[in-house]
């Protein structure tokens, strides 16, 4: 049973995409960089170019980290829902197949965090 209740019951999905005024949610985490305590949650239009996410939205979010400026994005490895994934920077989120509440992680080999502590 999908819920214990006194009669058949359907819950209201609080976070369906139409509640976000045209945006969809995208979660982004930087692996082995725990200075940022948790992955970030962003509301982006599905038409947004993926390159703009990396070039415009990520710097204010991750830029405090001294290694962020050193990232070579051509070598960054991406994971979507934990599986290897290759973005096309010139295509939109939708064209890249990203749906509402998808989660991306990126790995930056060679960058090991503050004093190598994965911070």
């Amino acid at each position: 049973m999908p819920v214990a209740a006194i009669k058949p019951y359907t819950g209201e999905v609080k976070d369906r995409q139409e509640n976000f005024h045209g945006a969809q949610l995208l979660y982004v985490g930087w692996d082995q960089h725990l200075m940022f305590c948790a992955p970030f949650c962003f509301p982006f239009p599905p038409t947004m170019r993926f390159g703009d996410v990396v070039e415009k939205a990520l710097p204010p979010a991750f830029g405090y980290h001294p290694e962020f400026a050193k990232i070579d994005w051509s070598k960054a490895q991406w994971l979507k829902s934990g599986k290897p994934w290759t973005p096309d920077f010139n295509k939109s989120l939708a064209e890249n197949g990203l749906k509402h509440k998808d989660v991306l992680r990126f790995k930056t080999p060679g960058l090991t965090g503050i004093k190598g502590s994965s911070t």
Binding site: M1, P2, V3, A4, A5, I6, Y9, T10, G11, E12, V13, K14, D15, R16, N19, F20, H21, A23, L25, Y27, G29, D31, Q32, L34, M35, F36, C37, A38, P39, F40, C41, F42, P43, P60, A61, Y64, S81, G82, K99, H100, K101, D102, V103, R105, G113, I114, K115, S117, S118, T119
Partner: protein, 515 residues
């Protein structure tokens, strides 16, 4: 003529008349209609008379005991307030633990009151009904005495002004709030296992002992006294929880798997909520009582093991999630403080980095983890702060759908990697901090799809003051959200060093001790 003197009632007779004797079976309406909620969870009760009340407390005696405790408590609270007791605490950082308590815990006492009042009404057995009624009154008393004893601090310090308002809105308070909302929207038996057993019996020592001893160690007589005043009630609550679980298990063998699932669920939900207490113990008390890890070992591992050994004869097993807690106890307090430190703009209390000697204390208490994983992070932040570049994270975090904590917990076996779990339900994705939160969701997805996740609510535009136009040019979301939270930006929040609380406390203490 001889007077016929009626014999005074014995305790047992009195108890019988004042509890069991007050119940009756309805005749105008079927019992199932009068008590509609005590069957749908699948729990089978054959004989409510088998309920044993270990305390045999009757209402008249209850009032007498409680009134006596109230008189003592308020005498001490008054003395504390009249003597400016707040200036006797170790330093003003301590007061932030009270803010956390007042916003995160006291409103839950009130929720516990509502829950027990509700459940007391729904049980058709009169024994548990009376016991729940007393606990409901205890809980509202706890909420009141906590608010009264902390209200004195509200006259002098920031961030204590709106606990009830904040509970329904502020991002981190959705963690304790959703915990109780989950319990109170379940059936009456799950509530009893969730709050009566898992919370009151298994976990309450980890909540009260750290706060109350923390108060004692840091010179806060007021908070210490309400703790002691609640303590004798807690003993009764623990016994009620334990009696309830034994009663359910003895009534029918089919109850065992249901009860086991509830114990698994609520032990995990409870340990997640207690992350806040861990952080308080290790980082917020200027004078520490013991480390979170030590408290966990004493109050959970040792006491909890004894309890589960006792329940083994009914077929109850130690919840699987306990294995993860053996590892988590070395990490969660540091991970939580790192989170509050960086999101310090959006909390109603101050945050800071531990001083060098406090970091050494943490190294000593956490020899396996602190220096390796957390010290470099904290020293870096402390250096940056000194250089005028104090870290504030201004981008909202991803949250767990069930415990609602930001996804700050690391992968079991790898403290360098955030733990990600997800599932699809009705073509919608849901994310979790752990296998255990994921399992809870998967068992009752229709419940948790409704979670009011603060980050998502902000993005949906539901967390601004009424009349706000988020599409207006130059709109800044953070100040609007803080206004909605009733957090006064620059006074209640941000760094402790240089805060109004810190300055005032120092100035007032100087006045009190010097000419």
């Amino acid at each position: 003529m001889d007077m016929k003197v009626k014999k005074k009632l014995g305790l047992k007779e009195r108890y019988g008349l004042m509890t069991r004797g007050l119940g009756w079976d309805t005749t105008y309406q079927p019992m199932d209609k009068v008590f509609p909620y005590d069957k749908f969870e699948g729990i089978k009760i054959h004989d409510w008379e088998k309920w044993e009340d270990p305390f045999r407390l009757t209402m008249d005696a209850y009032w007498k005991y409680q009134a006596e405790k109230e008189r003592k408590l308020y005498a001490i609270i008054d003395a504390f307030a009249q003597n400016n007791g707040h200036l006797g605490v170790t330093d003003a950082r301590y007061i932030n633990t009270l803010k956390l308590f007042l916003t995160g815990i006291s409103p839950l006492e009130y929720m516990a009151h509502r829950g027990f009042a509700h459940v007391g009404r729904q049980m058709r057995g009169v024994g548990p009904r009376v016991a729940c009624q007393m606990q409901a009154i205890d809980e509202i008393r706890h909420a009141q005495t906590q608010i009264h004893s902390m209200s004195n601090y509200n006259k002098y310090y920031n961030g204590l002004h709106a606990p009830r308002h904040m509970l329904d809105r502020v991002w981190y308070l959705s963690v304790p709030k959703s915990f109780f909302d989950d319990a109170i929207t379940a059936g009456p038996f799950e509530w009893m296992i969730a709050i009566g057993f898992s919370f009151e019996y298994v976990l309450t020592n980890l909540l009260f002992v750290p706060f109350v001893s923390g108060a004692a160690y840091n010179g806060d007589m007021g908070a210490m006294t309400f703790g002691f005043s609640a303590q004798s009630d807690e003993a009764r609550h623990m016994t009620l929880g334990l009696e309830c679980i034994k009663f359910l298990l003895e009534q029918d063998p089919d109850n065992l798997p249901i009860v086991q699932r509830w114990i698994d669920k609520w032990t995990w939900r409870g340990t997640r909520v207690l992350t806040l207490v861990g952080m308080m113990m290790d980082y917020m008390l200027p004078k520490r009582v013991m480390s979170w890890k030590e408290a966990w070992e004493i109050y959970f591992e040792q006491n909890g093991t004894a309890l589960f050994n006792d329940l083994a004869r009914y077929g109850i097993k130690v919840p699987e999630c306990v294995n993860q807690t053996f590892e988590d106890k070395e990490h969660i307090s540091h991970q939580a403080w790192a989170t509050f430190y960086q999101y310090g703009a959006a909390a109603d209390f101050h945050t800071w980095m531990p001083k060098p000697d406090e970091m050494d204390w943490l190294s000593e208490k956490y020899p396996n983890t602190f220096d390796k994983y957390y010290r470099p992070r904290f020293e870096y932040w402390a250096e940056q702060h000194k250089a005028g570049n104090r870290f504030y994270n201004n981008t909202l975090p991803m949250l767990c759908q069930v415990c609602q904590i930001p996804m700050l917990f690391t992968e079991p076996g790898d403290p360098t990697q955030i733990c990600y779990r997800e599932t699809d339900y009705k073509e919608e994705k849901y994310h979790f901090c752990s296998d255990h939160c994921k399992h809870i969701f998967e068992h009752e997805p229709e419940k948790y799809v409704q979670a009011w996740l603060p980050v998502h609510q902000i993005y949906q535009g539901n967390c601004f003051p009424e009349g706000t136009d988020p599409t207006a040019p130059g709109f800044e979301p953070l100040p609007a959200v803080l206004e909605y939270y009733h957090i006064n930006h620059g006074r209640d929040n941000l760094e402790y060093e240089g805060s109004e609380d810190q300055r005032n406390f120092e100035a007032w203490r100087q006045q009190a001790t010097k000419n």
